[in-house]
Amino acid sequence: MSTVKYKIKSALHDQQLYAAIQNASNLSTAKRDDQILGLDDYESSRDAAREVRQRSVDYSPRLIEKFTREFTALGGKVYIAANASEANRITINILKSHGAEKGVKSKSMVTEEIFLGRALESAGIDAVETDLGEYIVQLAGEKPSHITAPAMHKSRQSIGRLFAEKLGIKYTDDPAELTEVARGMLRERFLNAEFGISGANFLIAETGHIAIVENEGNVRLGLSIPPVYIAVTGIEKLLEKLADLSPLVKMLAKSATGQKFSGYFHLLKPSREGEDGPEEMHVILIDNGRSRAMADPEMREMMLCIRCGACLNECPVYKTIGGHAYDSTYPGPMGSVLSNLLGRNKMLHQELPDLSTLCGACKDVCPVRIDLPKLLLELRARREKPLSHNMLASGWKWTMESSSRVEVAGKFARMVEKVVPKVMSGGVKPGGPGSFRTQVEKRKSQVESPKSKIRTDDEQ
């Protein structure tokens, strides 16, 4: 059984998990709907947001160049990392050059994508997660299960037990008390932090601004107190101009948390003479497969994503199995696509496009109108291509139309499976249920007339 299948199976048996996910996603969708229904120009706002993101991706290289010019003119530094290990190396080098050992980190999915936390830890650098949800999953030694609500899979009781065990406090499952405990613990860390690391929602090419959205105030403390500040984000996050923020800001908080506006919105850049701010500001832009995705006419659309997480909350599959079952940094509909575009090799998470009923809810709530069902279908089709999917698929159809062909194919299949294991989708054992040979054998007994026709998976 593949890891994903195993994780789905255990998620389906976890009542506490199911209750937590249902509760959180239902509350999220209700809050989102309240905000969206109050907008009389929802559809045109989506169009405007999409137009900005489209332009951002279309002109990405030029915008990176312009941003770098503006940001470095103010004394900041910009790096482009081709992949995860390069990004981690750059971050560690910056911190080592200051002898920095203890610092604070704000929630950032890009840093999860590159496993920055683990890399810092093995370099002997202590970076505590300060977003409450991230703090919880870091204490538990887990990964976030949702891109905007990292600890969504946990009940208040399990968080209470975790805090009692790891922080040595008296057990409480009151969310207000637990929040207060985290606030107290992390205050000390903020005041003594040698560095601050965060993600960035957008970077403005025109002015050199970094734009960050948050609610807890931890980003604000992380960029106000430590002397060294590092923002880590993807190369697709550049916007052409400051005014481009408007349509995105209008959609982001409503779609993500059902708020009209986020608690904090930061527009920052390196301080000029006579101004306060971190002594050093660094921006690390990560490619990690993004430029390849941008050059892919069908997959390019995924780069418009603004990581609001609305598609996760709406997805019937996500709401049943939760984020961890996807076994990827990015879960849910957006994750099932994005995970297969990032990293050194494409299609590292081949099973994920199947974790969708193609109901289209994700597409309906996407603030930038990404056609996720279309992308999921395209990935399903592509999955087989490296193994001559098209030949297999059409061959399959052709074979199944005739009983004599089925006969021959049976022999052929037994041969193929010895030579090419896992010729069908990952994890299928030769001759096991679902394997090509078994299906051919099964079909053999079903074929009644040479004219009968079996539809392939792709046609269904």
């Binding site: 105030g217 403390l221 904090y264 527009l267």
Partner: protein, 188 residues
Amino acid sequence: MNNSKNVLLFQKQLLAVNGEFISLDENQKVSSLVKEFITSNSIKSIVLSDFSQHQDLVEALEEDTEILADFGSRSYPLDEAGNLCAKADAGITDVYAIIADTGTLVISSRNRGDRLCSSLPPIHLALIGNSKVYLNFEEFIENTPKEHTYALITGPSRTADIEKKLILGAHGPKRVVVFYSEGNAGCT
């Protein structure tokens, strides 16, 4: 632009995000209202961002509370500034602009005082009066100097990371109290 209409909208939106709004009439002084608030809320110590233009406010406040840091009077090394602001019961800042339809305060990020007084103490007292007034984010972004850095603050800091239950005061202030004086220099 109709300012008083926008201020009313700001007030409504600020209250909707758990902020507090205290309005002054013509005869009241901001300093006396702030003093009243400080006394009734048992605030023992405060930190001030740069109010060097409004020395009378500083002097008035000195009578009732301990001023741990006054960023208008001198500069503080970063660690000292952080520690003082973390100890204070309340921080008082000016406000660069307000955004009406979201109840948002625009605070400059250019000064340490503005940054820390509005983020470390459990109560943030924000004085608006001579602040710019914008209807929405779009209007703000179109009219604002492109070289500046800002924090847009909408209500007290918050989290809903535990079972989606809203808790105020995650890492920043638990209360944001806005003092508004129409047409006043804000701090006289």
